[in-house]
């Protein structure tokens, strides 16, 4: 019993430590990769390969003046950046990193992730509202509408996986992928989920809530110091979470030959994080109405079609 509790505590703190460090490290990784794809060096001065740049950035963001605008709604302004970090870290609780290495084995694991990601919207919307600045408000409005719309078919795109696996439990879903990863029978679901994941983490090309060329810095225009840092870390945590989920749901989770499970999980997750960064480096930002009509007129019918076909095939083959 005591051993059990200690083992759980090790996993909990391990997951916290690793995810937060990965999120911080991604700042460096993103800048280096962007530089690589744009034929320049990127941060390469601090430490070997510029690796200590992360540390320098942290020192900078922690020692900056933490300014709350006098016109802001103070309690909401302070709580908003915390919401996104808390909800995303909580969602990591249901992800099976390797057999036995997960925090809770919840039978509604997938729904738990959807619940947490839907609560994350508040961070951006309230951050934008409480700043009492027009750019922030516009960013917050865009974020609320965008995340609400893309959440609809984010959930729908995953239901094909649930039907094939017959469970909301993420460990069961990984085990159901022995032999054939779901990225092949659920290719449409994978594409829809990936695009919805980009919109949920509001990354380029769907970073309309920030859109620095039109809205200064969007919803976090008025934030400074570590409060801005929280939004930043929350964004990278979101990328890591969506990548880890894509791996879990569509690419067989920890499964793979020769190497230990946790290594396979890490390799696959970093592949998708790289893909997120490549998208940022290569795609332009759409107009806001294009984003919305693309979501409702293309992605939603695709997700429904995927659901219909998957259901029909399961019914016909009688699995």
């Amino acid at each position: 019993m005591t051993n059990d509790i200690i083992w759980k505590l090790i996993i909990v703190f391990g997951v916290l430590f690793v995810t937060l460090n990965v999120a911080a490290g991604l700042i460096w990784l993103e800048r280096r990769l962007l530089a690589l794809w744009q034929d320049r060096y990127g941060p390469n001065r601090v430490g070997p390969f510029g690796l200590l740049q992360v540390l320098a950035d942290m020192v900078k963001v922690f020692t900056k003046e933490d300014w709350i605008p006098p016109f802001a709604d103070k309690p909401v302004f302070i709580i908003a950046p915390a919401i996104i970090v808390v909800t995303i870290i909580t969602a990591f609780a249901v992800i099976p990193f390797a057999p036995g290495v997960e925090i809770v084995d919840l039978n509604i694991g997938l729904l738990f992730f959807l619940a947490m990601s839907s609560l994350g919207v508040y961070s951006v919307a309230l951050g934008g509202w409480s700043s009492a600045s027009k750019y922030s408000l516009l960013g917050g409005l865009r974020a609320a509408a965008q995340m609400l719309s893309y959440e609809v078919f984010m959930g729908l795109s995953l239901m094909g996986v649930v039907m094939l696996a017959g469970s909301f439990n993420l460990t069961d879903i990984v085990n159901a992928q022995k032999g054939l990863w779901f990225c092949i029978p659920q290719f449409l679901g994978l594409v829809v989920f990936f695009i919805a994941g980009i919109a949920e983490t509001h990354r380029l090309p769907f970073d309309l809530p920030e859109a620095e060329s039109e809205l200064v810095a969007g919803f976090h225009s008025e934030y400074s110091g570590m409060k801005f840092g929280m939004f930043f870390v929350g964004e990278y945590l979101g990328i890591t979470l969506v990548s880890a989920l894509i791996v879990t749901l569509f690419f067989g989770g920890w499964m793979g030959p020769a190497l230990p499970p946790i290594v396979w999980f890490t390799i696959k997750t970093f592949f998708f994080i790289g893909l997120f960064i490549l998208l940022r480096a290569s795609l332009p930002r759409p107009r806001y109405d294009q984003l919305m009509s693309y979501g409702w007129k293309v992605m939603l019918p695709l997700a429904l079609l995927n659901l219909l076909v998957t259901g029909g095939i399961i019914l016909a083959t009688g699995r």
Partner: protein
């Protein structure tokens, strides 16, 4: 088992009380979200994890976001808080207080007279919920979907772009 339930219940009651006493609309909404989250926790503790997840996804995560969205658009300033202050006079509380006191008395009576023993909690899985919804309760599901369709058609009608205004795109 009981302690988490009472904590969640207390949070639900206190936050719901805060919802009706706040003068700032967004603060009231935030307390409402907390209240919904604690109710979801209660569902979870009572062995209904599926309902708990749906409560968070649909109520706290979608409907409340729409509320926040609308209030953000309305741009309520200090004037509206001042208006709320004038509206929330002590005499307004009299009626609701009497009614809720009656309900509270009835609740106390039921708690004292009827022996409530903690029932065996069996966890309802999502599969059982699905079988129940599309089995005996399929009529309810169909009626709800009809209602939603009517709402959708209504929203489409209201949001339709007028064709006659010349300059606008159809």
């Amino acid at each position: 088992m009981n302690t988490p339930f009472y904590i969640a219940a207390a949070v639900a009651v206190i936050s719901t009380f805060m919802v009706i006493t706040r003068r700032n609309a967004v603060h009231a909404l935030l307390y409402l979200i907390v209240s919904l989250l604690s109710v979801a926790l209660i569902f979870f503790l009572l062995g209904a994890p599926f309902v708990a997840a749906l409560e968070i996804i649909i109520y706290a995560g979608a409907i409340m976001v729409l509320f926040v969205f609308v209030i953000m658009m309305l741009n309520l300033g200090p004037q509206s808080t001042e208006m709320e202050r004038r509206w929330l006079t002590p005499e307004i509380w009299v009626g609701p207080t009497i009614l809720t006191a009656l309900l509270a008395a009835e609740l106390l009576y039921v708690l004292v007279r009827v022996q409530v023993r903690p029932s065996d909690i069996n966890v309802i899985t999502p599969k059982q919920v699905g079988i129940a919804l599309l089995g005996p309760y399929v009529l309810g599901v169909e009626l709800a979907s009809l209602l939603l369709l009517a709402g959708l058609v209504g929203a489409f009608h209201l949001g339709r772009r007028e064709k006659s205004d010349g300059g606008g795109r159809a």
